[in-house]
Amino acid sequence: MAQRVLEFLQRERPLALAETGSHVGDEIAVVHREHLVEVLTLLRDHEQMRMNMLSDLTVVDYLGQTPRFEVVYQLYSIPHKHRLRVKVLVDETPGECWVPTATGLWYAANWAEREAWDLYGVRFEGHPDLRRILMYEEFVGHPLRKDYPQNGRQPLIRRPDAPPTDDQTTRLMPDSHDRRVS
């Protein structure tokens, strides 16, 4: 059903598309990062598209591949009732691990991008308030990255005589605020 969305994109912005596909009934468009905002704006504003709802914004970590991360936008058009999944590939090197923000297009992108930054460390350039949203400020690293140690806890507070745990990195992470209490 949303095949017409892909055909529209191929007609309007052929250079922006790296790849298109379809998986179990969901249409997918892989977009170059430099054309991302342009494509998203077109999808939101064009009369035939009207993608006025950002259902979700997530990141996938393909550890070992380059580019490593995949930022996924799930779009939905309430008036036309069609969906599209837009993907952007992002590499993990610090200078390259970013995508432009979509907060100017959908308010829903604000917290979703903060969550993606918090858990995966993908920066969203131009975001008005790119802070951690789930983890605390003292947390070091991005816990949903596949190379983050399992059970890698960074406690804010512990009793000195607390029972032993299965932590792998407790009190080992730099700058972890570990306050001992009696």
Binding site: Y136, N151, A162, T165, R179, V181, S182
Partner: protein, 196 residues
Amino acid sequence: MTESSASYVPTLLQDAVNWAQKYSLFTYPFATACCAMEFMSTMGPRYDIARFGAEFPRFSPRQADLLIVIGTITERQAPVLRRVYDQMPDPKWVMAFGVCASTGGFYQNYTVTPGADQVIPVDVYVPGCPPRPEQVLDGLMTLQRRIQEHRGNCQQDIGNTAAIGYTDRRKLPVLQDGTSMTLLPDERLPQDGRVR
């Protein structure tokens, strides 16, 4: 009065105080997750925790002496739990309600504290996901038995608390802006009022 009887009187007095305390527990429910539903059932008329002398939930920790940690404690929330515990006046007891509060449960990951006992001393653990109300009542009776035997964590800390008062005043919490004198000065919560 002989020497032996003189030392026996405070023990009797302590027993009487413990007996009084175990049947008038004022609970503070620190409810964070789905176990709170089962706690409501325990409080309600069908299971009726009031039959055991713990009927009245206080929604300020300063008026409570039984802290019931109900649900998952995240690392981000652990300082808040500690702060709530520090605000409670002695003598005080803690019940870990459900596996998440006891051990972290099946959340073995970066964000969940593996048990409330990592942060505060816990007197009785009630396992279950969530525990049945009967288990909670059993845990409460276990706690009451421990109070009568003078084996609660805070009772061992502060010693003989019989009507004449506390033996070691350094153990008493002195509350200033939510911080506690039971902590060393460099371990108190930040003075700028920032709550994580």
